[in-house]
């Protein structure tokens, strides 16, 4: 674990990939690019503006009138190609680190396939909707699943997610609520495992990644709490879904488990200086940013800061997250342009 992690020895295995990722990061859209995109009238204008950025002519061969879903697919494909190039060239421990990044997409894919199967959709319809970074074998075998135990035995046990699934076997049957519980339990186990892995790596990677993952854990706890108001999720069940690798553990999580409305959640967050700032100024009035937006902004800030240090793995994780945010931004702007509903077009989250 110690090899390749300190300053002078990091570059033996990872120097080329670090240089490459920083090159990719330099191509992330800046505020000026977004200002140009916001002024587009049609999707064709958008395509022309994107040609002068790092994306180049990625839409050049698309037939017919552009649709937002096509732009979405192509934007995501670029990220997938770059990530797979990085993964193919990496060695341990970077390759395990990159695999951990893909597990979150695998979790999303599994939940998407189960939900789709419950609603009687066919696998061939669902397979293209899966995120390519989270592909695993046996994806097609999800069609015959009816209980979590079967799900585990036929599919999950061969994937790297097997260790995360152990708490979920006790869920009785697969309905809407229980699928969300499975998703959140898987994600909680994944986050805690990833956090432990990064702490084990030590050095600058641990410093950078543990901070980012702690914020991710706290953000999920807050969002789960707020979304569970008015549903049938009991407080005990809710407490079992909170990842414990964040700053809120243990007192904050206990208080969140007892909260019954938004103001109590805000009171819990007031004890933590970074989160207090996020709740101030967040609201649902027009002109305010929503809480989700402020959480995204904070995440972007943490990810941008991880590029300030050299010789650590955090830049790979941050690059993936920042590119995802960029895709979300461009798709938001494209939707506003396509529907000609420009009032909220400035609600993207600027990165640089």
């Amino acid at each position: 674990m110690g090899s390749g992690m300190s300053g002078p020895t990091f570059n033996i295995d990872n120097g080329y990939l670090e240089g490459l990722v920083r090159g990719f990061k330099n191509g992330i859209l800046t505020k000026n690019d977004y200002l140009n995109l916001v002024q587009c009238e049609t999707l064709e204008d958008l395509k022309v503006h994107l040609q002068s950025t790092d994306y180049g002519t990625f839409l050049a061969n698309e037939p017919g009138p552009l649709a937002v879903s096509v732009i979405d697919d192509k934007l995501r494909n670029k990220l997938v190609l770059e990530f797979q190039h990085l993964r193919n060239h990496s060695v341990e421990p970077l390759s395990t680190f990159l695999d951990y990044i893909t597990y979150s997409y695998m979790i999303d894919n599994i939940v998407l396939l189960i939900t789709g199967t419950l609603h009687q959709r066919s696998i061939s319809e669902l397979a293209p909707k899966c995120h390519p970074l989270g592909k695993f074998e046996q994806m097609e075998a999800i069609g015959a699943i009816s209980t979590p135990a079967e799900l585990y035995n036929t599919i999950i046990v061969d994937t790297p997610l097997a260790a995360f699934f152990l708490d979920c076997i006790f869920v009785q049957d697969l309905d809407e609520m229980n699928i969300e519980i499975i998703r959140n339990t898987l994600y909680k186990n994944y986050l805690e495992d990833f956090h432990a892995f990064c702490s084990g790596l030590g050095g600058i990677t641990a410093d950078v990644m543990c901070e980012i993952l702690a914020f991710e854990a706290d953000r999920r706890a807050i969002i789960i709490t707020i979304n569970s108001f008015g549903t049938e999720l009991t407080k005990d069940d809710r407490a079992k879904l909170f990842p414990r690798c964040g700053r809120l553990h243990p007192e904050g999580l206990a208080a969140l488990a007892r909260a019954v409305d938004y103001d109590q959640v805000r009171a819990v967050a007031d004890y933590y200086a970074e989160y207090k700032v996020l709740f101030e100024g967040a609201g649902n009035n027009p002109g305010d940013k929503t809480l989700e937006d402020k959480l995204f902004e904070h995440e972007v800030k943490l990810n941008v800061n991880s590029f300030l240090q050299q010789f650590h793995f955090g830049i790979f994780y941050s690059y993936v997250k920042l590119k995802e945010q960029e895709v979300r931004n461009v798709i938001w702007i494209s939707e506003c342009v396509a529907q000609r509903h420009r009032t909220k077009i400035d609600n993207y989250i600027p990165i640089y």
Binding site: M1, G7, P8, N11, I12, G15, Y16, L17, E18, G19, L20, V21, R22, G23, F24, N26, G27, G200, Q310
Partner: protein, 213 residues
């Protein structure tokens, strides 16, 4: 995680056993009034001056090369990675590689200069005065070699790390390169300090047969 613990416990057990045996041996010599047999001074003088001198020459070149090599690979991989998306950095950043190479050149100059001060002598016919000169020469060449080698080792690593930062920031913003080059020049200077001290140490050294008695 479990296997890592087993390995570290293993190495802790072995190292404590070794330390225990060494302490036991030392106490035995001390308490049985045989402390004089552990004679460091005798050891230093009994090693022939040739051995000291040539180990010094070897250290000077080999540690310098380790430092230069570490520096070159640290910088080189960053230049290659950064040049994929920003090809213009390729030629300018070779300056960092040249700075690292200079460190190895200091080492080889020192080793050639000091190796030329050593000649063979016959220990049976050499005069006592010449023998003192030879012993002095052996120690001073060893000291000079160690000085130059270690200082070039760390200088090379330092220039390499700074050069890597220079390449990556040049890829992001071309205006930064010249400023970071100034940092590299300072980093290079510390290797030069080692060479100066090494020359001072070995300037009066020689190992020679001398006039026969």
């Amino acid at each position: 995680m479990g296997s890592e613990n087993i390995i570290s416990i293993h190495s802790q057990v072995i190292s404590s056993i070794v330390i225990f045996l060494l302490v036991l041996t030392g106490l035995f010599f001390l308490l049985s009034d045989q402390g004089y047999r552990f004679d460091v001074g005798w050891l230093l003088l009994a090693i022939p001056p040739h051995a000291w001198a040539f180990v010094g020459v070897g250290l000077s070149i080999s540690l310098s090369v380790v430092g230069a090599a570490t520096g070159i690979y640290i910088t080189g991989t960053s230049i290659i990675g950064g040049a994929v998306k920003a090809p213009r950095i390729k030629t300018k950043n070779l300056i960092s590689i040249i700075f690292c190479e200079a460190v190895a050149i200091y080492g080889i100059i020192m080793s050639i200069v000091t190796a030329n001060m050593v000649e063979d002598y016959d220990p049976l016919t050499v005069s006592a005065k010449q023998m003192r000169q030879n012993v002095f020469g052996g120690f001073s060449i060893f000291g000079a070699g160690l000085t130059v080698g270690l200082s070039n080792l760390f200088c090379g690593v330092c220039v390499g790390v700074v050069g890597s930062g220079a390449a990556l920031s040049d890829a992001a913003n071309p205006a930064l390169f010249v400023k970071i080059l100034i940092i590299e020049i300072f980093a290079s200077a510390i290797g030069l300090f080692g060479v100066i001290v090494g020359i001072l140490q070995s300037s009066n050294a020689s190992i020679a047969p001398g006039a026969s008695t």
